[in-house]
Amino acid sequence: MLFHSITFICIFLPIGLAGYYFLGSKGNAGARWWLLLTSCLFYFLGSRANLFLLLLSICLNFILGSFLEKYSDQKYRKIILIIGIVINLGILIFYKSFSLFELTSVTNYKTVFTDSFVPLGLSFFSLQQVAYLIDLYRKNIFKESFLNYALFVGFFPQLIAGPIVRFQEIVPQLKNPQTYVFRYDNFVIGSTIFILGASKKIICANRAGIVANGIFNGVSQGAIPTLVEAWIGAFAFTLQLYFDFSSYSDMAVGVARMFGIRLPINFNSPFRARGVMEGFTRWHITLYRYFSDYLVRPLFSLLIKIPLQKKIAKTRFAVSISTFAMLVLSGLWHGFSFNFFLWGVLNAIVAVGFYLWKEYTRGTGIKINPSHPLLARVKSCLFIAGLLCIGVCFKAQSVEEIRTIILSMMGVNGISLSPKLYDSLGAINSTLISFDGFFPNGLVPGGLNGCVRLLIIPIVIIFFMPNVYEFLYHYGPALGTERLLKLNKKINWIPNKTWAFFMALVSIMTIFYSFNSAYSISIFEYFRF
């Protein structure tokens, strides 16, 4: 079930909230069981066949956690931890690697399994439970009741596509009796975040998706895009992915807040990043936090022990390798196929390259002011351009398609200009330049005008508007906002008449757009993971 579907908004959510707060007024246990039941139903409606797998995974990890708590002998604890990690990652790898069986050759692979094959949210709940076991092993946390544990894993707003939460973020809230008491502020703030999230999905992501799908589908049907088409296609897909993920994260945070629970911020305007690595950490905050805690730091501590002559070289080596491993793994986390691997490797090359360049300039004494606004803009543009190129690997369905689009982005497949420019530029004698219009393959409905019409709203929102969490900064919309965001002085949401009107306007626009069949691309790209 999708958060922005009528069934969820008009039936599931109201009944879920009503039951939760009604039982909450009688006692915590009833409300918690209700929440677990609601979460199971939510998962069942989305992925009927796999509810059993989810429940089995929860029970198994809870039992392993109990053993970890029970035994004090470090040797046994280590074995239990390894068993837990192997089981969780084994299931994850088993499902995700099925696409590998379809690999016929490096240049002709196809991921032919259906989306329903990989259990919904498997990547998210598996990683979350591995973290739980590691934290228990490290004695950062202590075992809780089964109900609290099951809710930590299965709380439906974050179950399918994140955020990836930590045990210590959720369980204290579940144990707080105040969580189960209805509060108007929680409902209003939660619904505001939810409405803004849903509007981003329906108005922005789906519009960008029309352009991206037009171009990428055209390529898979044999079209060879021109320079402009290829860049627009890559840009539109990046916008689609951006709003898809951003909107889902917002809706998850909003729904959770309506239930009185604050989830961590998961997406923080990555296009405003002033560096490549910062850009990555703003995109999927909780995933990078996860990899940072459970992969980069342990790996770094291991690598730093390698005997190298210079300390500075040792640090650079350790940082580079651990960052590289993190980004390649984050690529593979999306799927065990060559395009995701390539995507991860390219991300890693860009990030490590920038890091080493920074270190090199520091070492040679080249004076660059890192906070210079121009440099920040250049870095930001480089990050976005890199993201567009890399995004092609994410969307394309074969290596052949990636090659076609990348070559087109380089201008190798020709540059087509408007026929109106023939008089002024017709003298250029090049076989690469033609004057058949900017979209000679007719891949985008409405050509240039259509592109502008479909992409203008997403562009304005990304580059000129504060994000949802900045709007609601004063009201602590999500965990971590105080640390990650600065106070936005321009526009601040307050629960007054003007904002009630604005939110009603956004809601009505979203409703009207959602009934438009042209924008009915409703699947979230991140559901595949």
Partner: protein
């Protein structure tokens, strides 16, 4: 201190007011002519957006067929819509152009009931190779459009946009929408094309290449079965109602036939024409009804005086006589088609333009088509 309770009340109040306001606005303007609440001059009288969407076209056409004002109906896609002007027909034929951009037999199946109930005397159907050659996703999307008609025509951003454009069109006499003539014919906005034939030919040819590429991927014969079941229905209903049916293969520019040949799909094309002919004549034989109605299949495609018109280049641009783009012919060509089919004696038509197909001549015709295509390609490469 702000009150959250009041905020919620205000929010729902504004939401309700906005919803009622927008819905009333859409109902009042009625851009798709569905509710007929008011019709005010310079406000909403001319429904310029009535055909802006396929679902609206289906609804409007159903109503038109049922009015029984017309005896001749043209079915087809944009080629028929822009090419066949019912005004060319004699007054007694009372023609209406019910074609629509990218419409095919999937869409025409919606008119079955209306055609059965109506007094239509003849149907002219301009058919194209690979009509309805769609992916399953597109088909299901189309089904969704049709099932959600009612709600979408009241609350959707497109309806709101169309309502605003309808008012602007009425107020300033702009033509943002698809404004069909009273007889359903769409007058082409010539200026757009005349400036860059080379670009527009390239554009359409690229799209056609993809369509041909797609035939290899999809189960084309499944599509054919569906297409021909509609043809079978037409044969049956024409016998029952004594209705004349004229199906013709559109005279697309020869460049498109070359794309079919270059893409090694001529055999598919050939089998399509053969199957079409076989379906018509075999179904016709099986009908016991003794009505002497006409059921003809014409082919205006292939190499002939019209389809091989020279294409301007960007350096040497000149107006094209017969074509708007490789896929769309002009009204003059449409008139020639009607003349050839009905033989009114109003117009002179080149002898090589249009062949009436029957089981006896079809193989020879297709053979000649292939040979002349190959010959033309060889002579071009020899140059």
């Amino acid at each position: 201190m702000y009150n959250y309770k009041t905020y919620i009340k205000n929010y729902f109040l504004y939401l309700l007011i906005l919803f009622i306001l927008l819905m009333s606005f859409v109902l009042l303007v009625d851009p798709y002519c569905e509710f007929n609440i008011v019709s005010i001059d310079r406000f909403n009288k001319i429904k310029t957006r009535q055909y802006s969407d396929k679902s609206n076209w289906i609804k409007a056409t159903k109503k038109i067929i049922l009015t029984n004002k017309y005896e001749t109906i043209f079915l087809g896609s944009s080629r028929v819509l822009k090419g066949l002007n019912p005004d060319f027909l004699p007054e007694s034929y009372k023609g209406y152009n019910a074609a629509y951009s990218s419409a095919n037999f999937y869409d025409f199946e919606n008119f079955k009931k209306e055609i059965e109930k109506s007094n239509i005397k003849r149907i002219v159907w301009g058919i194209d190779f690979c009509d309805g050659c769609l992916d399953d996703s597109v088909k299901s999307h189309r089904n969704n459009i049709l099932s959600g008609l009612q709600l979408e025509s009241i609350i959707s951003s497109q309806t709101l946009y169309d309502s605003i454009v309808t008012i602007l069109d009425n107020l300033f006499l702009l033509k943002h929408g698809i404004l069909k003539d009273n007889n359903g014919f769409l007058v082409t906005k010539e200026k757009k094309y005349e400036n860059n034939y080379a670009a527009i030919f390239n554009n359409v040819e690229n799209g056609f290449k993809r369509k041909i590429h797609r035939i290899k991927r999809i189960d084309y014969y499944l599509t054919l079965q569906r297409e021909f079941s509609f043809v079978e229905w037409l044969v049956r209903i024409s016998k029952e109602k004594n209705m004349d049916i004229y199906i013709y293969i559109s005279p697309v520019h020869i460049n498109l036939l070359n794309i079919i040949i270059d893409g090694y799909q001529f055999e598919t094309y050939k089998s399509w024409v053969e199957l079409l002919s076989k379906t018509i004549y075999e179904t016709d034989l099986h009908q016991n009804n003794k009505n002497d109605n006409v059921f003809e299949l014409w082919d205006f495609s292939g190499y002939n005086s019209i389809t091989k018109e020279a294409i301007p280049t960007i350096k040497n641009n000149f107006p094209m006589k017969w074509y708007i783009d490789p896929s769309h012919y002009r009204e003059t060509v449409g008139n020639m088609i009607l003349e050839k089919i009905f033989d009114f004696g109003k117009l002179e038509v080149p002898l090589d333009f249009g062949v009436k197909l029957n089981p006896n001549n079809i193989n020879r015709h297709l053979e000649l088509m292939y040979l002349s295509a190959e010959g033309a390609q060889n002579s071009v490469s020899a140059l």
